[in-house]
Every structure is written in structure tokens, then in C-alpha cells.
């Protein structure tokens, strides 16, 4: 069957029944939230276990258990590899592996897939693991979810977690987790909060055990069952990427400049504006230009949200935002700011972006800047699959912020080498075009026809090269020619869930012509 944006979705696959995507806000959930089993604790109970193996045994690990991880330690994380190696050495098989995201450091996971320790993956992928899965090396398709969609799936019971393993930069003996201090301080553990609340058992792994009571941040002793102390939970050099510097790449600066003009002329850049941007080159450049416009025009915004960078901290410090709402810190400045500044507030993934709640931050956003690998003529965006059809990237907050913000701006170079951004048909739909308003490249600004109001505003600006998305497509074809289509097998390697739990697209295995 085809979903509402015309993607072919099987009604059933490997016994799973799929609900096709029917529009960003069409699906109305019924029923109640999932409830994890009750627990009991008595005076004098101890939580600190001798080692990870004891904690895993105490948590009742067995073949087929589902185990979740979070990615705030980013490319410096030791915990995923440490835990999976331990699980492998215990002879456990067929784990359902539920990370919030993976990085290059987690390449080792491939071995655990090969040996059958990991049987299913539900969550994000990245480069090497994505490549391995794309080659058809996992029996079951990977479920990809946005940050908000993952929180929703856990709260609704679509995804149940047997054991959540939380890397804790600091933890008191009773299980209060702090992430603003400690040798591996990394900013708020926004993505791990929902896991801690809904998992059957929760293990905190820390390299900085402190006496009870510590001042609670996002994760409470109320949910922590076991504590394990290790030498190091991560390599600080990889946890944070130093300072996220604004690019000197003139092409991305050009995109950023146009994007800042789009924001300036959108009518949204007024007092109390709220804003989110990623850490990509063009997005950061745009934020830098927006900062200068706000300073010049003396605009005071309301909040900046999402992954917080030093640039947003700088904007806060200059009085351009009143609050920073942070689900994950991207650099050292953000980590320090979360520690020192009461207006720098940690939020959970569910508070950030879960659509099936009484409210999430993305719904309060005026403007978000997002990247893209491909955009089609209906403004559908692909961030998951690469030019060769391989499933190499996660969704992040892409679907969530696009759906929530008043204006969603995609910023991306019009070509990566000879690969065009704007295509007739994206390889995979991550984010539906109905939630995307403007596309900004170094050569043009295209407005979704749904947003005639924005088009009228931008047309009046001499400094914006307004074009239709079809014109951008034509320009691209003139330069690089029409690409030959990718051919696929019937096998599905990935399922792209929309944030509401419906299926927006599936990723099929590419036919390998070399074979």
C-alpha cells in the first residue's frame, strides 16, 4: 500500500503490522501510557554492584532482552562497547539493541551483530554500522525513530526496555545522576530520562561516585536500580567537539547568510523569538548572522532549544535569549553553561519533542534550521540514506522540530560534488514536505507553495535569490545531468517511523550489481 505521500509501505512485514503515515498531525492516539512493573525498596538496600556483570545479572538479563543506551558522551562513549562486550562474554544472544544514536567509536557493534549477540536494532545508525546493516547483514529491519518518536514509542509501550544502561558523569550512592559535573561532564542527559522512567531495570555506570544526597538534575534515584563504578565512562576528548567554530567555508557562509536573511524577513525575528539550529556548518553560520542582526536591531528572543552549542550560549550571554532549553550539549561552552547558569535548563526527550503528550518544546518554536541530504519537489526531506542508497544516518530531531516550528528552513549546499540536493524523488523520506517551509542553498531560496505568505515577503527582498524548487531542480540537471535510478531488492533493511508511530518510508536493500 502507499502512504499519503506516495511511498510504498508493506501492510505487514515479518509479522509486524504497519500503520501508514497519513499526515503530520492526523493520527490521534488512543489508550494509555505503558506502565513499567512496580518495584519495592527497603531501608538499608544497597545499589552499588561489584561490576557490570553483577549488575546485568541482578537486572535479570537473558537471551532476547532489550537494552537501551544514550549518546550524550558522543564519540567519546565507552559504555556501549563496554556493556556489549560484557554481555557477549556472558554468552547472551539476540539482544534487542536500543541506542539513541551511534558514533564512529561504536564500530565494534558490527562484531556483536555478526556473532548474534545483537539480533535486532531499534534506534539510530551511523556510518560503519549503517553500512554493515545496509549490506543486508541483520535479519530484521532496523527501526529508525526521531528523538520525540523514540520517547513516544517508549511511553506508549511500542518499544519496551528491559534494561536501560545510563552513562552517568556523576552519581550518588543512592542513584541520583548528575551530568554537569565530573571528569566526563557532558551537559543534560535529556535522551536518557524517558529510558530511566520506563525501563524494567536501570543501571547507572559512573566514574564519579559521590555520597548521597547530590542535587538532582534530570534523572532521579527514584528510577535507578543498580550502580556500577568504572575507571572511565568516556574519553573527554571525544565527548565534546571542543568549540563548535563557525565555518570559514565561503559556500556555507553564503548559505548561512541567505538563511539569516530568510529569518530576518520572515516576520518572526521580533522580540521573544524562539530559535533552534543544529551544529552543521551552514546552520552555525546562519546563527552567527542572526546573532548580528539581533544585536543590531536590539531584539531579545525568548529561548533557543535543542542541542545547545557555544554559539547559542554566546547569544544568551549577550542577552539575545532569556532561556536555553537543552536536551544535549554539543561543546564545552554548552557543558559549562549548563553547569553554571540557572537559565540553561535541561529537558527530557519527551519534553523536547514527544507529540503524544500534553505539550513539547518543539511546538513552542518559531524557527528551526535543519540540514538535508536530499529534498524533492514536494519538499520531502531525506537525511537517512546516502547517494548509494545505504542507510547511514539517524533522524535526530529533524521530524520533530520541522513539525513543531512555525517556520522550518532547510539549509544545504545545492551540490555535494556532483550529487544534487534537489531531486525528483528522494531516496528515503525522513521528514514530510508538509512540515518544511523554506529551502536555502548557496544559489537560491525556494518556498513551499503552502507558504504563500513567506513567498510574498521574500520576493520583496533584493538580497534573496527567490526561485521555485522546480527551477533549482532544472539548474541542477543542467549541471550534473539526470541521475540513473537506484534499483532495489524487496528486502527491507530499515523502517523509518514518523514521530507519531506511523510508517513514513522503508529502506530497501540496494541491488549489488558487482555480484
Amino acid at each position: 500500500m502507499k502512504n499519503i505521500i506516495g511511498r510504498e509501505i508493506p501492510a505487514e512485514y515479518q509479522g509486524m503490522k504497519f500503520k501508514p503515515f497519513s499526515g503530520a498531525f492526523e493520527f490521534v492516539p488512543k489508550g494509555s501510557k505503558y506502565s513499567p512493573a512496580l518495584k519495592v525498596s527497603k531501608p538499608g538496600d544497597k545499589k552499588v554492584r561489584k561490576n557490570l556483570r553483577e549488575a546485568l545479572i541482578a537486572a535479570g538479563i537473558k537471551d532476547g532482552s532489550s537494552i537501551s543506551f544514550h549518546h550524550h558522551l558522543r564519540n567519546g562513549d565507552y559504555i556501549i562497547n563496554m556493556a556489549m562486550d560484557e554481555i557477549a562474554s556472558m554468552g547472551i544472544k539476540n539482544i534487542r539493541f536500543i541506542p539513541t544514536a551511534l558514533f564512529g567509536v561504536h564500530k565494534k557493534i558490527i562484531e556483536h551483530i555478526k556473532t548474534g549477540v545483537i539480533g535486532k536494532i531499534s534506534g539510530s545508525l551511523n556510518g560503519p554500522v549503517g553500512r554493515f546493516v545496509s549490506d543486508g547483514n541483520l535479519k530484521y529491519p532496523v527501526f529508525l525513530r526521531s528523538h520525540g518518536g523514540r520517547a513516544r514509542a517508549i511511553e506508549s509501550g511500542d518499544e519496551t526496555i528491559d534494561i536501560a544502561i545510563i552513562a552517568a558523569p556523576t552519581c550518588d550512592e543512592f542513584g541520583t545522576i548528575l551530568s554537569s559535573v565530573g571528569q566526563s561532564a557532558c551537559g543534560p542527559l535529556g535522551y536518557a530520562v524517558t529510558d530511566s522512567q520506563y525501563a524494567r531495570q536501570v543501571i547507572a555506570v559512573t566514574d564519579n561516585l559521590v555520597p548521597f544526597p547530590a542535587k538532582k538534575e534530570l534523572i532521579s534515584y527514584n528510577h535507578i536500580d543498580h550502580i556500577v563504578v568504572v575507571d572511565k565512562i568516556g574519553n573527554p576528548g571525544g565527548i565534546v567537539s571542543g568549540t563548535t567554530v563557525v565555518t570559514r567555508d565561503t559556500l556555507r557562509l553564503k548559505i548561512g547568510h541567505y538563511a539569516s536573511k530568510v529569518i530576518e524577513h520572515s516576520g518572526l525575528l521580533i522580540d521573544d523569538v524562539s530559535f533552534q539550529t543544529g551544529a552543521g556548518g551552514a546552520s552555525l553560520a546562519a546563527a552567527e548572522f542572526v546573532k548580528n542582526i539581533m544585536l543590531e536591531k536590539k531584539i531579545t528572543g525568548s529561548f533557543a532549544s535543542g542541542g545547545i552549542t557555544g554559539l547559542l550560549v554566546d547569544m544568551y550571554n549577550k542577552g539575545l535569549f532569556k532561556k536555553l532549553l537543552d536536551v544535549q550539549s554539543f561543546d564545552l561552552e554548552a557543558v559549562a553553561s549548563y553547569r553554571d547558569n540557572p537559565d540553561h535548563i535541561g529537558i527530557s526527550a519527551s519534553e523536547y519533542a514527544n507529540p503524544h503528550t500534553s505539550g513539547c518544546i518543539v511546538n513552542q518554536l518559531d524557527c528551526v534550521l535543519l540540514g538535508a541530504t536530499e529534498v524533492d519537489l514536494n519538499f520531502n526531506v531525506n537525511v537517512n540514506t546516502e547517494v548509494d542508497g545505504a542507510l547511514l544516518h539517524g533522524i535526530g530531531g529533524h521530524q520533530d522540530t520541522a513539525a513543531g516550528a512555525k517556520m522550518t528552513v532547510i539549509v544545504a549546499p545545492q551540490f555535494r560534488g556532483n550529487i544534487p540536493l534537489v531531486v525528483d524523488d528522494v531516496t528515503t523520506v525522513t521528514t514530510p514536505g508538509e512540515t518544511v517551509d523554506v529551502l536555502v542553498t548557496e544559489r537560491g531560496v525556494a518556498v513551499n507553495p503552502r507558504r504563500g505568505d513567506l513567498l510574498e515577503r521574500f520576493k520583496k527582498c533584493r538580497d534573496l535569490p527567490v526561485k521555485s524548487i522546480e527551477e533549482i531542480r532544472e539548474e541542477s540537471i543542467k549541471l550534473v545531468g539526470k541521475p540513473e535510478p537506484i534499483e532495489y531488492e524487496d528486502d527491507i533493511i530499515g523502517i523509518i517511523e514518523y514521530r507519531d508511530g506511523s510508517i513514513i518510508d522503508v529502506v530497501r536493500k540496494v541491488i549489488d550489481k558487482k555480484k
Binding site: 565561503t250 559556500l251 543542467k478 549541471l479
Partner: protein, 299 residues
């Protein structure tokens, strides 16, 4: 069609595809593909071929109103003649000729261009810009321009080589270049061709670039070369008339036209007499504004 405005002239190394691909997005009036100083001797042939193919492909790579200029190697090098042969064959808009020191030298290049235009049946007339980068070149500048007017549309200063020849160094204030700049502007204006200033080499100091550009505009220069894309918009902003200037110029020309219609000898506006140089300046501003598309909506 090219619009003949030369506020900013962006140098692009001729052997770097990534830079050539995106050279058109920064708003430079002229893209100057370089085959000379930025290309090592081993890669002269590949740069020539790359630039040639980029020019063939210009309709896909660049907007139609961008002027494509090529800085070739000097005829005295083993590369100069082949540069001209290959590049003229694909009809660039203009050639930037390095180290012109005498009228004879320029005439020789013009003759070669003329022959190649015939050989390759080039429909448009390829123009030239002469780089003055030695004391001798500056000494002979008027003769060079006078004899080269059949193709020569601009003069530019090569400051690095010139200061070396002068036995001095470039400074931030640029006092050492003052005489050369003034002389070059004077001759260019006298013969009604473009006066294009030398590059500003500190690509990270955009404020100093702006100060220098404002200064050379005051001297009479009509444009400036850029060595980095980020310099283009700064240069353009200095040389682009403001909305108020455009409006004022339009009114002056209207007053002049009305006076002419009424047969009045004296043109007055707001109680002040407008003389011929003011009218000429207004014409220049309105002309540039038109070429930059300021009046598109009304037309």
C-alpha cells in the same frame, strides 16, 4: 549578455574544480580565471584545459551577466602563446594581460587575439585589461593605453610586483602605491577605460578591505580585484550606489531632460545650478543601477 560592470573581479585559481564550480555564487561582476601566478609550472596545461572546459560550460555554471576573464601567462614564458590559443578558441569575454611594459607588447598580444578570433570564428570581440606591475609599465602607461584602445577596456595595478620593483614593501596605509594608483586612474579616466585596483591580501580583515576600497574609490577607481570570495560583497557594497544616490541621480536627469525640452540653457534644481559633470555622474549612477536591475520592476 554581460553587463560590463566591473565593481568586483574575483580571482579563481584555474586548477581547482571546487572553487571554479562555485565561483559564480558570490556576486562578483567578473570572474578572473588565473593561469599565471596561482598555478605551478607542472599544472599549467591542466589549468588551461580546466578553464577552457569551464568556459565552454558557462551557461550551466554561471549567470549570463557575469564576465569571464582569463589571466594568461606572459608571452615571454613557454605558456603564454598556448594559453591564448586554447582560451581564445572558447571565446572568453576578456583577457587580463600580465606585466605590460610597452605599447608594442600590448599590440602584439592584441594581434594574436585578432588572428585567433578569426581562426576560431569568434563572434564577439574579446577585450583586454592590462596589468601594470613594473616601473617601466607605469612609465609607458599613456602610450600603452593610447595604442591599445582597439581592445583595451581597463587598467589594473599589480601591487606586489610593483612595490618590489620600487624597492619597497606594501603597507597598510598604501602610501608607496599612491603615485602609481593616481597615475593609473588619471590615464584610465583620460581615455575613458576602467581603473581596477589591486587585490587586498589579508583575506580575514574585511574591515581593512572596506577602508582601502573606500579610499581607492575616492581616488577614482571603478572597481577592485578580490582574491577571496568573502571580499566580493564588501567591494560591491562600496561601489554600488545607494538607493538615495540613485533616486537623486534620477531626479537630476529628469530636471536636465525637462530643461532641454524647454530649451533652457541653465539647469537648476532646489535653487542650485546643475553643471555638466554632475549630469555625467548621475548618468553613470543611473546606468549602473539599471544594469544591476534596480529598475526591473518599473520596466
Amino acid at each position: 549578455m554581460m553587463n560590463n560592470i566591473r565593481r568586483s573581479l574575483l580571482y579563481v585559481p584555474g586548477n581547482q574544480p571546487a572553487i571554479i564550480n562555485s565561483a559564480g555564487i558570490y556576486g562578483a561582476d567578473v570572474i578572473v580565471f588565473d593561469l599565471e601566478d596561482s598555478i605551478s609550472i607542472d599544472e599549467k596545461d591542466s589549468a588551461r584545459s580546466l578553464v577552457k572546459n569551464a568556459i565552454i560550460n558557462r551557461n550551466n555554471l554561471y549567470k549570463s551577466n557575469v564576465e569571464l576573464m582569463v589571466r594568461v601567462n606572459h608571452l615571454s614564458t613557454p605558456f603564454g602563446a598556448e594559453d591564448l590559443e586554447e582560451i581564445i578558441s572558447v571565446s572568453p569575454d576578456s583577457i587580463r594581460i600580465p606585466k605590460v611594459e610597452s605599447a608594442e607588447e600590448l599590440i602584439k598580444v592584441h594581434e594574436i587575439i585578432g588572428k585567433l578570433e578569426k581562426k576560431f570564428q569568434i563572434k564577439t570581440r574579446i577585450t583586454t585589461v592590462a596589468i601594470i606591475e613594473t616601473l617601466l609599465g607605469l612609465h609607458n602607461i599613456e602610450e600603452i593605453v593610447k595604442k591599445g584602445l582597439d581592445r583595451l577596456t581597463g587598467l589594473t595595478l599589480g601591487a606586489e610586483d610593483f612595490t618590489r620593483d620600487l624597492g619597497t614593501e606594501r603597507s597598510i596605509g598604501g602610501e608607496e602605491l599612491l603615485f602609481a594608483r593616481e597615475k593609473l586612474v588619471f590615464i584610465a579616466k583620460l581615455y575613458n577605460i576602467d581603473a581596477i585596483d589591486t587585490v587586498f591580501s589579508n583575506v580575514f580583515d574585511l574591515d581593512a578591505l572596506k577602508t582601502e576600497t573606500q579610499f581607492i574609490k575616492k581616488l577614482g577607481f571603478t572597481g577592485k580585484s578580490a582574491i577571496h570570495p568573502s571580499q566580493v560583497s564588501e567591494i560591491n557594497s562600496v561601489f554600488t550606489p545607494t538607493a538615495a544616490e540613485i533616486e537623486n541621480s534620477v531626479e537630476i536627469l529628469q530636471a536636465a531632460a525637462e530643461a532641454k525640452e524647454k530649451g533652457l540653457g541653465v539647469i537648476a534644481r532646489h535653487g542650485r545650478m546643475i553643471d555638466l559633470p554632475v549630469i555625467k555622474k548621475s548618468e553613470r549612477i543611473v546606468n549602473m543601477a539599471r544594469k544591476l536591475g534596480y529598475f526591473e520592476e518599473e520596466e
